[in-house]
Symmetry: C2
Subunit: 458 residues, 2 copies
C-alpha cells in the first residue's frame, strides 16, 4: 500500500503518551485541520496510579497498560510513533529523535513526565529502584519475592532478618501505598506460603524526611494514614533522612542521631525530576526550570516567547494558586491535556481562549487491602475519609479512569478474587538473576526430615 | 519462629514444577508419611499450552502462571524451594543445587521438562528465539511488535518488506499455533493500527522439514490445518529445511534447491531436548538416553537399577505403544505425575502397583482466532474436527485445565473482549532494547504533511 500523508493544515507533535499527551491527542482527534504525531519511547499508555499494584504482584503489566495505537486507532489524523525524542530545534521547529526523524511541527506539546531523582546520589539507583515504568515495577516485584525466597533458604538467622527487612524511602502517596501493600503481603498474602520463615515477622520501614506522611494532605489525614500503616505493622519513621546505603544496609539521620538499618531491599519513592527531554527543550527554548528540572510555563501552559510550544504534566511547573503549582497527580496532566487540545483548535478557528484553570478533584491513597485516606474538598466533610470508605472511593475512581473495558473487568476480577483468597496471583519472578548467591552454601535450614531416619522404599 | 522440620518417614524430592512435578506433589499432599520438597528455578507453575498466546499479546504472563507456593499452600508436608538442581549424587541420594543444598532424598522425581534444540546450530539461538518460558514469550512478543514499529518508520520499501516478513521454523503444534496467531495479528489485530504500512501485507512463512504440518495428527487433519493456515495468509512450506540464518535472512533447502528468504524475525518451534539436569541424572545413574537427551525409563517410570528415581514428562522416554513413546504434550506429564504419586504411596503402604498406562486423550491445536483442528480418538468421528468446533473444544479444555479460578475468568474476559474488538490488549513492548538502529536516518516515510505547507498558528 503506497503511503499517503494525511492532508493537514497544521502539524502537531506530541511527545509523551501519558495522561497529558494522550488527552491532547484525543482532544484533537476530530479536528480535520490538524495532523498529529504522538511520539513515545513505549508503545503503550501506562495507568501510573496502579503501577505499585504490579510491583506488589496484585496486577499484571497488561492490566494497567494499553497499546497507544489501539487507543488512538480511530483518530485518522493521528500517527503514533515509537521513538525517543532527544533534542529540539526551536528555530527550525523540529523534534530530533535518537534514530530517524527529525519531525517538523507547527505546534509542539511536551508531555514527557518525570523520572525519579536520587538528589545527587545516583549511585543509590542500583540499590534502591524507583517506580516509574512497567520494567521498574517488574524489577521491584522480583526483588520483594526473591527476598522472601532467600530468607526461606537462609540458615543464619541474622542474614534471614536482613532479607525480611524492607525500607521504603519517601512518605508521599507512592511510598505510603507501597508500604501498605508490603504490609499486606507480609501479613496476609504470604502468611502460609513458607515453611521455615514466618512472613508476618517481616520488618517494613517507611522513611520520610518531613514530620508526617502524605505532606500534600491535611495533618489529620496524614495521622490517619500513619495509624492505618502501623496497624499493618509498618514502622513509620518521620523526620528521618537517608544519608547512605549499600546492598546490606541503609544509613539514616534522625535529628542528629545516625542509625544503620540492616536490610537487603530498599525501594525509592522520594524525589522526582523532569525527563531529560524537558531539559533539552528548556535549553533550546532558553527558558527557566525549577530545581527538579521542570519548565516554568505561563497561564496558557506555553513556554515564554514560544506560543507554539506547550509543556504539561510532570514536565512543567503549571501555575495554580499563587506560588503553589498544580500537583504532580494524574489530574495534573489530564486537565492540561484537554486544555491544550482545546487551545490548538481554538487558535485554528481564530477563537480566543482563557488561561488554564486547574480543578482540584482531591486526593485518594489506598493503604493495604481495604483501607485508605481521601482528601476531596468538593465533597465537603464526606471528602475526608479514612479506612474502608476511602478505599471504596479509590477503587471506583481508579476503575472508572482505567482505559480499556476489558482491563476494567480483568482488574475487578483479580481484585475480587484476591479478596476471597487474600492472594496476589501475579507474583511471578521473571527475568534473571535467579537468586543472589548465598554467602556460604550451608545446608539450608528447611532441610526436611534431617533428624529422621529415612525409610527404604518398598 | 523457630524452624520445625516436618515429621516424616519418607523424603521425596521433586525437581521441576511443571505439569509432571506439580501433580506428583498434589498426589502426595495428603500422605502423612511423606515430606516432599519441590525444587524449581521459577517460583511459578506455567501453563505451557497457552504460552504462545503471551508471545502474541493475547494474554499476560500473569494469566497463565500461578505461584507454586500458593498452589501447594495447603500441602503441609510439602516445601517449595526456589533453586536450580545441577547435579545428582545417586549413591548418596542427594540432589546438588547451584547454590545451597545438597538435598537428601529417599525418592527422587525428575520432572525438569525440555528446552529447545537447534540441532547443533546453537549460534541460531540469538536470531531465532524459541518458546519455552515466560521470558521467551515476552521476548518474542517484543520482537514481533518492534518489527511492525520498525516497518512503520522504514522509508526504504525493501527493508520495510524484511521487517514485515516472519519465518516460523517447525510445523508441530507450537509452530502451527504461532503461525496462526501471527496471521490473525497481521489481518485483524493490527489492521488499522498503522498509517504507512498495511499489516495484512505481512509475509508469514511456516517452514517444516517433513511433508506435512502437525506430524502427530492423521494426514487429513494435517491437510485441514494447512488449509486453515493458508486462509490466514500463511505460506506453508513443507519438505523444507533451514540450513542457515543471519539477522537479515533465512536460508532454506527445498529438495536440492537452495533459497534465501530476506526477513528480520525468525521464531524457532522445531526441536526440543531434555533439560541439562536430566543429562546430569543420566550420567550419575549411568543410564541410557535418546538423541534428544531424554532418559529411557521402565514401565513403572523408574530408571533401570534405581527404583528410587522416577523420570517423567519431557525429560523421559516413557513407554507407550510398542516402540512409540508417550507424546510430549501436557497429558504426557500430568498422567505420569499422578501415577508416580500413587506408586510412592502404594510402596509406603506395601501395596503392589501395575505399570504406567498412558490414556491418549487426543490432540487439539488452535489456528488463528476461531478455528483449529482436533484429533480425539475416544470421541469417535466427532473427535476429528476442523474449524470453529475444534476451536471451541480447545477453549473448553484449556480453560478447564488452567490452574487458578481468577485466571480462568480473566482469560475468558480477555478473549471475549478480544473477539469483540479483534484486539490483543497486552501487546506491550517491555524491557530493552527499544528499537533496532535504523540503517540510515532517512526522514521516515510517515512524516506528516510533508508536501503540505504548514499553516501558522493564529
Amino acid at each position: 500500500m503506497p503511503y499517503e500523508p494525511p492532508m493537514a493544515e497544521h502539524r502537531v507533535v506530541i511527545v509523551g503518551g501519558g495522561f497529558g499527551g494522550l488527552n491532547v491527542a484525543r482532544e484533537l482527534g476530530r479536528e480535520p485541520r490538524v495532523s498529529a504525531t504522538l511520539v513515545d519511547r513505549r508503545n503503550f499508555h501506562l495507568f501510573q496510579p496502579l503501577l505499585y499494584q504490579v510491583a506488589t504482584g496484585a496486577l499484571s503489566p497488561g492490566d494497567i497498560a494499553q497499546p497507544l495505537r489501539s487507543i488512538l486507532r480511530r483518530n485518522a489524523n493521528t500517527t503514533v510513533l515509537l521513538g525517543e525524542a532527544v533534542g529540539l530545534d526551536a528555530e527550525g521547529r523540529r523534534v530530533i529523535l535518537s534514530d530517524g526523524g527529525p519531525i517538523p511541527y507547527d505546534t509542539l506539546v511536551v508531555a514527557t513526565g518525570a523520572r525519579h531523582s536520587y538528589f545527587g546520589h545516583d549511585d543509590w539507583a542500583s540499590n534502591a529502584p524507583g517506580l516509574k515504568s512497567i520494567d521498574d515495577a517488574v524489577a521491584i516485584r522480583r526483588r520483594i519475592l526473591i527476598a522472601y525466597e532467600a530468607a526461606e533458604r537462609e540458615a543464619d538467622l541474622e542474614r534471614r532478618r536482613e532479607w525480611m527487612t524492607f525500607v521504603i524511602v519517601g512518605g508521599g502517596p507512592t511510598g505510603v501505598e507501597l508500604a501498605g501493600a508490603l504490609g499486606e503481603i507480609a501479613n496476609d498474602t504470604l502468611r502460609r506460603d513458607f515453611r521455615s520463615i514466618h512472613p508476618p515477622d517481616s520488618r517494613i520501614i517507611l522513611v520520610e524526611a518531613l514530620d508526617r506522611v502524605l505532606p500534600p494532605y491535611p495533618p489529620d489525614r496524614s495521622a490517619s494514614a500513619r495509624r492505618q500503616l502501623e496497624r499493618l505493622g509498618v514502622e513509620v519513621r518521620t523526620g528521618t533522612r537517608v544519608i547512605g546505603m549499600d546492598d546490606r544496609s541503609v544509613r539514616v539521620l534522625i535529628g542528629d542521631r545516625e542509625e544503620t538499618i540492616p536490610c537487603r531491599t530498599v525501594l525509592w519513592a522520594a524525589g522526582v525530576q523532569a525527563s531529560s527531554f524537558a531539559h533539552a527543550v528548556a535549553v533550546a527554548a532558553g527558558v527557566e526550570t525549577d530545581r527538579a528540572g521542570r519548565i516554568v510555563v505561563g497561564r496558557d501552559l506555553t513556554v515564554p516567547g514560544h506560543p507554539e510550544i506547550f509543556v504539561i504534566g510532570d514536565a512543567a511547573v503549571q501555575p495554580w494558586r499563587g506560588d503553589r503549582p498544580v500537583p504532580g497527580v494524574a489530574q495534573g496532566a489530564i486537565q492540561p491535556g484537554h486544555y491544550v487540545g482545546k487551545v490548538i483548535r481554538a487558535r485554528l478557528a481564530g477563537r480566543p481562549v482563557g488561561p488554564f484553570r486547574y480543578r482540584d478533584k482531591g486526593d485518594v491513597a489506598v493503604i493495604g487491602r481495604l483501607s485508605g485516606v481521601t482528601n476531596i474538598g468538593w465533597l465537603g466533610p464526606f471528602g475526608r475519609q479514612g479506612g474502608f470508605v476511602a478505599w471504596l472511593l479509590w477503587l471506583v475512581i481508579h476503575i472508572f479512569y482505567l482505559i480499556g473495558f476489558a482491563n476494567r473487568i480483568v482488574v475487578v476480577v483479580r481484585w475480587a478474587w484476591s479478596f476471597v483468597t487474600s492472594g496476589r496471583g501475579t507474583r511471578l519472578i521473571t527475568g534473571t538473576p535467579l537468586l543472589p548467591p548465598i554467602a556460604e552454601p550451608a545446608p539450608p535450614a528447611w532441610e526436611p526430615g534431617d533428624d529422621v531416619s529415612g525409610g527404604e522404599p518398598g
